[in-house]
Amino acid sequence: MHNLNAVTANVSYRYDGSLAGFYCCVFDSYARKEIPAAISSDEDDNGQIPLAPERWVLINPGQALRVRDGLAIKGTLRARDLLEHVFLSCMERRETALLAFARTVFAEGSRVLERLADPLVARLLKAEKGLLGEAHLLTGFVRFTQTEAGLVSIIGPKNFVLPLIAPHFADRLGGEAFLIYDKTHGAALVHEPGKPWTVARMEPPREQPTDDETRVQALWRRFYKTIGIAERENPVCRRSHMPMRYWPYMTEMKEFYPGYNGS
């Protein structure tokens, strides 16, 4: 499929925001021998006037699969993982960068991954690092509240980490019904015992805490306050390991967040 003669075209691709949809954008770019000036989706609709006339890219599962398999064959699984990770990240205009990356992989194979100093590769690796870093932090910072319906958590991450943290929580809490709601992206990870997990767009959860919940949360807050050593107080170190943007969602940290009003 590779074609080095593609030219930048005065067109903006628009797709549904899904990974399959993005792969179809890559497919179209080859089919039409053009590189779109921009790629946008419903997800990042911010009312801005598009840079170039928009063209809708329709999902065709067969085409998406061809691109996806092609990446692993022409490149490596690692190259495809990098692309799919960056797709979940919060990198600005990631689709355009990922299209350029996919084209390089198709043209040159996996050697591109060794070019760590290449500006595009360096940018993608940085975005991936940010995503994986945030996913790792959240495996620790997620806080569940016990409700009648099960365990419920709300998070507000920069990157779309739910698909990455899902296997960890589903494995660890296999026997539990739980839900993790991502406020930034308006989606939730839902798990029921004995069933596979799902991630889907969803309204914020409204379940109420059980009666015992206040007691357990108070115990945890008391532990948290006790375990710090006063003689070694180090707010800078704490903030660098646990950035303040996570605090409003954490049982023990809420009250330290500027502007906290007791709710």
Partner: protein, 453 residues
Amino acid sequence: MDLSDKLAILADSAKFDAACTSSGSNRPGRPDGVGSTVGAGICHSFASDGRCISLLKVLFSNACVYDCRYCANRRGADGPRAAFTPEELAELTIAFYRRNYIEGLFLSSAVARSPDYTMERMIGALAILRGKYRFNGYIHAKAIPGASPEAVRALGMLADRLSVNIELPSEASLNRLAPDKTRAGILEPMSQIMKGSEQSYLESKALALSRVQPSAAPRGFAPAGQSTQMIIGATPETDRAIMRLASGLYRKYRLRRVFYSAYIPVSDDSALPALDSPPPLLREHRLYQADFLLRFYGFDAEEILPEDSPSLNAYLDPKCSWALRNPERFPVDVNRAPLSDLLRVPGIGPKSAERVMTARRQTRLTIDDLRRIGVVLKRARFFIEAADTAQGPRVSREDAVRALLDPNAGRFGFEQLSMFDSMDRGRRLPGAGDAPTLRDAVEEAVACITSTL
């Protein structure tokens, strides 16, 4: 006493133990239980002192029959006493774990009645947790010095990591400050744990080869090995003595970690630092840096602290300090040098060294390339040669030394500098008493270090 007060007392008594890692064990969840373990460990929160909170860290009881003089729980100290019941502790752990507050439990204890009685209570709590609650998450338990081999064995079968604290860096100090403990009472369980953990490692390998699902396999004895901790600054041992001991422990008992804990005065005792002396945090930080060099950079204790410089340098991190003492090893050519030499460059860590090895397969790396792949050049640039370094401007020795000084030295507070006995080839580096301000001290240190080059 209600559970909340108990928890506060027993967490407060446990907070000086530095170990809170949940690493070294990788076990998937199981359908009939709750929990899993993750090899690299997970931090669930960070306390006001900036330390990671991974485990529910508590003592089982803080009412001690021993009288270690450096310890707030010793028999002779005042303060509230408490003990959990096994059921209470197990229930609390599960409640915290299900809400994802913690990665598991870190359970230690004062010596309540006798070492074996204490062990029995701890074993009781862990047995409820593993049995009734089917808890499959991480447990780090401390063996009580002087406990019987049977009790150590039983505790190890329930824990992921089992360890004994070495407490003080020398036997003389231990005898002087911990009259009820003996060096043998600490080292014997340590060697028992090493052997048991090794055995269970071999067994798990054998099970893996026979294709038993990991979740169906028994946990075995302390699969995550052991760690230990020693108190720094309560006794007169030099950094050299401490690092030699640590490196011996790593080798002899295959410890996963040695923790260093800056002594915080707990009592007015003439054998110990005065009540108002601050904990030697910068020194502790330098020891951790030196420990990293042992574990991840292929250094040995003798290289980091040779006989003629028994103290770590207050102003320089140990790797910089070593590099300045060994100029003949530099510059290192980033396009040719083996991994082991890259790791010796100040500012280059294992990750950036790996990236250099990969990136240089495609191109001869320049300084800009290094920057883009994420090598921090602030210090490294004085010690490397890249494709384009020959054209760079020459810097004076003094400017180089200034750039190499660890900015953290000042951040820990001026006073901290005096807690070192820093000598640089026979010249003493300034501390708080020797210069009017931190800036003066830094300038003096620069001059002093430059003059030895």
